[in-house]
């Protein structure tokens, strides 16, 4: 059962990515989808990023103080953000925000026969609806995860330097000393993979919607749940491969 479902997502992904390389190239749609994801999610990413960084600094700063090592707080927060929390939290947020709306939108088009109308007009719905969303999420989730990372570091700076009175120079020195570009790249690769997961799951769930408004609701919920779980599982395997 799970395997069949998983196979279905792979099929959708392959079809979607292949459609990207076949005329017509739908540049306008790609930009529109990217904008939708950005508009949907930027604020929520700013907010969650800020507080995630702040709470990490609060927890780890107090712990490091026990060993007189609070100077590394910034570096530890930055590392966990870049490698792990940035991409994962961003992925989960966007799954909730954009993955759900992809499923709802495409699902509504399915049950109101708009997808049939596309087909009748000899327009490939995969190329029109799915491919642009996959590439848009592939690009936008990493960008948003960078925003999340930056806000997180800012949050940890406010807590670490502002509240815990860590020396400002040490705070940044340690970040520079411990965080490598490689960590950032690993995080971005993860985020891009999560973007593909979100779009593929959201689009496929919407595409296969049956049964009116109730079906759209079901597809939307499933899209969020499946995308979130898949992100966490994929995160484990990506991490295992990278480090």
């Amino acid at each position: 059962m799970v395997l069949v479902e998983f196979g279905g997502f792979i099929v959708t992904m392959v079809q979607g990515i292949r459609a990207l390389f076949i005329r017509p190239f739908r540049i306008n749609l790609i930009f529109k989808e990217a904008e939708t994801i950005g508009v949907n999610s930027t604020f929520i990413i700013l907010l969650t990023g800020l507080f995630t960084g702040a709470v990490l600094a609060l927890q780890s700063g107090k712990a490091f103080r026990l060993f007189n090592a609070e100077g590394v707080t910034g570096a530890v927060v930055a590392l966990s953000l870049f490698r792990e929390l940035g991409p994962v939290m961003t992925g989960l947020m966007i799954a909730a925000r954009s993955g759900s709306s992809m499923a709802a939108q495409i699902g509504t088009m399915r049950v109101t026969q708009q997808i049939d109308a596309l087909e009748v007009m000899a327009v490939d719905p995969v190329s029109y609806l799915i491919a642009p969303r996959i590439i848009a999420a592939f690009v936008m989730v990493p960008l948003l995860s960078i925003i999340f990372d930056m806000m997180g570091i800012f949050g940890s700076y406010l807590v670490g330097v502002g509240m815990l009175e860590i020396n400002e120079a040490t705070f940044f020195e340690k970040i520079e000393a411990y965080v490598k570009t490689e960590d950032m790249w690993d995080g971005l690769i993860k985020a891009a993979a999560f973007g593909i997961i979100i779009a593929v799951v959201g689009c496929r769930k919407g595409f296969l919607t049956e049964g009116g408004a109730e079906g759209v609701g079901r597809a939307t919920t499933q899209a969020v749940v499946i995308a979130s779980v898949t992100i966490l599982i994929a995160d484990y395997f990506l991490t295992a491969m990278m480090f």
């Binding site: 088009m109 109101t112 026969q113 708009q114 087909e119 000899a122 490939d124």
Partner: protein, 247 residues
Amino acid sequence: MLEIRNLKKSFGTQRVLKGVNLKIKNGEITVIIGSSGCGKSVLLRHLIGLMKPDEGQILLDGMDLTNLPKEELKRVRMRFGMLFQDAALFDSMNVYENIAFPLREHRRVSEKEISEAVKQRLQEVGMKNVERKLPSELSGGMRKRVGLARALVLNPEIVLYDEPTTGLDPITSRAIDDLIVQTQQNIQGTSIIISHDIRATLRIANTIAMLHDGAIVAVGSPEEMMNHENAIVRDFLDYGLPKNFRA
């Protein structure tokens, strides 16, 4: 010529089409009638490959449409236009963009040409000043007319209409019927119409086919159908007409 051969379709245990046979001649208006829920829309969806039959064939000039590869099917669909029963307008696009959509997808045309085409098509279906409205801001009858404009914008040679005038007032209905006839004559195309409007059917149809209990039970000209030996057919037509219409 479009030929439906022994077409069968079930949904679960419900057998909707039990072996439909029908020949649809080129350059004619064929109207399919039948009681609500008898499978008319399902039949129409098979003609354009939106549904796959369990059994049977649909031959367009001898080519079987039921198992065409995707690219071939796309090419065939370019020859079709379809009006859906519920219009199926794109709800994220306004009226103008809905009608312009097939042009933008399949023709290299300037914005000016598009704008002229949209205006003309809207006029044909008796609408104006609605270009910027979204489908959600239109009445059911207006949506249907926009759907009609969109279906006809590329001048398809075969047009499928699923209840083009249901829900419209008598005057607009008449205008739409005339538009269908006009369109068909202009391009010598083939029109296949599902209709519950018996009066209009008798007026514009070259051929009437009646779907009943999963099969075509009668085919003929309006005249032949009015005097058909099968009482089901005669009753169906009679009840659709005002009293003493025959006289």
